[in-house]
């Protein structure tokens, strides 16, 4: 079917008086890799959190895989989504956080097994084999029995990715997954994401400050500014000759820093 994997339709998000996202419209196609860049406070994280239903939206509709996420269709009219509906649609989305949020009291393997067993109801052995496959894939075959505290930041983040994949999502969200890492650990995580993009049918939406990676990896880059998409397009266009001065300004600031 032709409708996009994710669609934001006039989505507005406010915190009290502060309007964080203003009438956002954004479509993401199946298997498209989209990077979101922009200054701090521009609403990047909020976009992902709304999609992950970690934040309620004040206005508009979010569509996932052709059906409304935050609402449900009751004979023609859209009504607020029930918990059941939310949980069904949410199942199609996975998220990786800036600060990993691994479960500290579980080993890498248990982290990846818990949800498949207690949410999807997989039998333990099946969940286990799936989990260890994924851990092998992210290059942590030898760390399965380790607890998060025994792992480096880069390793933790790779476990987090495996944990999200274990739920077989169609869309993966990444929020600055490398900015809590020591520079020389960033590479190993980006490699995992790179391969993920290459080998799996996954729609990916990532907030990042790694201009280099965004450029090389993504099909499209969206530059957020003050809760709006100030500019978007293929990376080469956006990085080489951006239309808006805001974009140019931001890029020069960031590159000077790098």
């Amino acid at each position: 079917m032709s409708d996009p994997m994710v669609r934001f339709e006039n989505v507005t998000k406010r915190y009290g008086a502060l309007t964080v996202l203003d009438q956002l419209n954004l479509d993401i196609e199946r298997n498209e890799k989209v990077s979101i860049i922009g200054p701090s406070g521009s609403g990047k994280t909020t976009v992902l959190r709304m999609l992950m239903t970690l934040e309620r939206i004040n206005d508009g509709v979010i569509w996932v895989d052709g059906e409304p996420l935050t609402h449900m269709d009751r004979n023609g009219t859209l009504v607020k989504a029930s918990e059941r509906h939310l949980r069904r649609v949410r199942g199609k989305i996975g998220m990786v956080f800036q600060h990993f949020n691994l479960f500290p009291h579980m080993t890498a393997l248990q982290n990846c097994m818990e949800a498949p067993v207690s949410v999807l109801g997989l039998p333990r052995d099946e969940a286990e084999s799936r989990a260890s496959e994924l851990l092998d894939m992210v290059g942590l075959g030898d760390k399965k029995g380790h607890f998060p505290i025994q792992m480096s930041g880069g390793q933790k983040q790779r476990v987090a990715i495996a944990r999200a994949l274990a739920m077989r999502p169609k869309v993966m969200l990444f929020d600055e997954v490398t900015s809590a890492l020591d520079p020389e650990l960033v590479g190993e995580v980006l490699n995992v994401i790179r391969n993920l993009g290459a080998e799996h049918d996954l729609t990916m939406l990532m907030v990042t400050h790694q201009m280099g990676f965004a450029r090389e990896f993504s099909d499209r880059v969206c530059f957020f500014y003050g809760g709006k998409i100030a500019e978007q397009g293929p990376p080469d266009k956006l990085f080489n000759d951006p239309d808006s001065d805001r974009t140019r300004q931001f890029l020069s600031a960031v590159l000077e820093a790098g």
């Binding site: 992950m52 239903t53 970690l54 949980r87 949410r90 199942g91 989305i93 996975g94 998220m95 956080f97 600060h99 990993f100 949020n101 691994l102 479960f103 500290p104 009291h105 579980m106 080993t107 818990e114 949800a115 207690s118 949410v119 607890f147 998060p148 505290i149 025994q150 944990r163 999200a164 739920m167």
Partner: protein
């Protein structure tokens, strides 16, 4: 005559009586601790439930039992309640009365511990689509328990001390026993010192180690040594 003849033997007898008192204190402490822990956990979990009315009930419970002093509560249980037709035995009042009073504080500990679990843990659980109860059971509570163990240790010591009030409801526990012994012999230094040390011993040789042991058991994944 009278207590005249008592005196010579008083010392020997009183020491025996002191041990009985210690035993009583230990017994009531154990019983009341169980009551406090069970009710504390239950009320504490209700306190963080998503249903507002339930929450309010928990708040009322907590505020009531923390609002008035244990002594007043014991008086009420023991001397006033019967007049409304419910007469509980001194032992029941001691264990339930002390236990419920402490459970009010315990519930607060549970609440605090649960709410102090990193928000990221809730968000990760949502992202992985956990139903709320599963999330609580598998992710939040196991982490909260570790956080609330040390304060529970202190609370149980409070409870231990609280049992010294059950004298007012006709039970002769360690404090009273030492008082009676001291009155009979006139040797206040000896018997009060022994009693003080007795409590200290129970707290430091039983309660504290027990809690430490539990802490170690629940520390998997939080401290390097604990998992090495």
């Amino acid at each position: 005559m009278g207590i005249g003849f008592m005196n010579e033997f008083a010392l020997g007898f009183s020491v025996a009586a002191l041990f009985k008192g210690a035993a009583v204190t230990l017994f009531v402490t154990t019983g009341a601790s169980i009551v406090a822990i069970v009710l504390g956990l239950a009320v504490g979990l209700v306190r963080v439930s998503t249903l507002a009315p339930l929450r309010w009930l928990a708040v009322a419970y907590i505020e009531f039992f923390r609002g008035t002093s244990m002594l007043v509560q014991l008086y009420w249980w023991f001397f006033v309640l019967p007049i409304f037709g419910l007469s509980l035995s001194p032992w029941t009042v001691a264990i339930v009365g002390v236990g419920m009073n402490v459970s009010g504080y315990g519930a607060e500990l549970v609440r605090a511990a649960i709410q102090s679990v990193d928000r990221g843990q809730y968000e990760a659980s949502t992202a992985l689509n956990f139903p709320r109860l599963t999330m609580m059971r598998r992710i939040i509570v196991p982490q909260a328990i570790r956080g609330m163990l040390p304060p529970w240790g202190n609370l149980l010591i409070e409870l231990l001390k609280g049992t010294s009030l059950i004298f007012f409801i006709t039970i002769t526990e360690l404090t009273t026993a030492s008082k009676l012994a001291a009155d009979a012999t006139g040797n206040y230094l000896l018997f009060f010192a022994v009693a003080l040390f007795g409590y200290y011993l129970i707290a430091r040789a039983i309660i504290t180690p027990l809690v430490r042991w539990l802490e170690r058991r629940f520390s998997r994944g939080f401290i390097r040594e604990a998992v090495a």
